[in-house]
Symmetry: C2
Subunit: 225 residues, 2 copies
């Protein structure tokens, strides 16, 4: 808040409608309101959010270049679907980038950021039985590591990967025992970062993602039958 030097109150933050639409649609996809493979009609979204099709189209175009949607000429947009191969490739990318982020964090992290990581790690202990809450805390934990790597492109790319993986419903923490192992893996990552051991941090992070991948693929197998 820039204080009240000017009596000018910005009641309308003048947030472009297109950005609003983008956030709402992304949130809807993450929440599973729109399911993978489902078609999205521009006019339906426009009516839902009370805007015209113009900002809707701009928002959808951007969501498409993020990989969340898929355009087909004259046939509209559909929520992207991930086949098994894509999931594998996404996790491979995550392993590379989470590893790199952890390695960089081990070198560049500051005391304050380290403290945040420790608090988040212990906070997660309280949610071992609540998959959704745990997933949220852990997401913050990972983001804190990404941020500690001090490379905005790395952070952005990891963000995009997370977005894409959000197309998969549910969380791996609902699998028995996964929450506890994940917590162990997180402890190993943090310990390596704290010890400023870049190689160990990278390795621990890669292992962590690979373990998550195994669980996720098992979940997919279970669904496919």
């Amino acid at each position: 808040m820039t204080a009240k030097i000017h009596p000018i109150k910005r009641d309308a933050p003048a947030a472009p409608r297109a950005e609003l639409v983008e956030e709402q649609v992304r949130a809807a996809i993450h929440k599973g309101l729109y399911k993978p493979g489902e078609r999205i009609r521009e006019s339906q979204v426009a009516e839902w959010l009370g805007v015209s099709r113009t900002p809707v189209r701009e928002a959808l175009r951007r969501l498409e270049s993020e990989g969340l949607l898929s355009f087909k000429s004259w046939r509209g947009v559909v929520v992207a679907e991930l086949d098994r191969q894509q999931v594998i490739e996404l996790y491979a990318m995550r392993a590379i980038l989470e590893g790199a982020a952890a390695g960089l964090a081990a070198r560049h992290i500051g005391e304050a950021e380290l403290h945040v990581l420790e608090r988040l790690l212990s906070r997660a202990d309280g949610f071992l039985a609540q998959p959704d809450r745990l997933a949220e805390v852990n997401r913050t934990f990972h983001q804190a590591i990404h941020s500690a790597a001090h490379n905005r492109y790395l952070m952005e790319t990891l963000n995009g990967l997370r977005n894409s993986l959000a197309l998969l419903q549910g969380t791996t923490f609902s699998i028995a025992g996964r929450a506890e192992s994940a917590q162990d893996e997180h402890r190993a990552i943090l310990a390596a970062i704290k010890a400023r051991d870049s190689d160990a941090a990278e390795l621990a992070a890669r292992r962590h993602i690979q373990a998550a991948e195994r669980t996720r693929l098992a979940m997919l197998f279970a669904m496919d039958g």
Copy 2:
């Protein structure tokens, strides 16, 4: 009239104008027709390409989410500018990902792909004195490696990085001696891939990018004075 049934020739490929605009503007930025920091007016682009502002806006929105443009509310778009820190971060990302791609290629590449790499490498020998042509061949060489890694997300991300780095004018091959060292480095990468030595390939690729970074930063220093 749906006319003849068989020789379906789509005279008008029905290429959405927005895609056309996107390509044209991207090309213009790469060619330096639009320079970093320069403002782009929607109506000017619309007139230039003979379309209305609607597809132009969609194209610009997508180019922005690629990082090539930067939006400011009600102030239009400007071509993104890279400060020294951003260049460093971009090269750090490239080192990570080119390394990963080379490592994966060493494991997954097929004989045909290997052959393509060898041909590209020897083709480059003929362009050591033509920086622009050399840059083009070398870009193809790198893309072939990315492709051989068989991970579409890795390839896409590397593509995005290349796009962003295209904001820097000129090529590092115009620096005396750089073309020859780059060629040496490429040979080292290919040798490691051919030997199926994943670790060596990753290391060689990282070194290559780091060498390119040093040259690039020296060029920036020279420009800044």
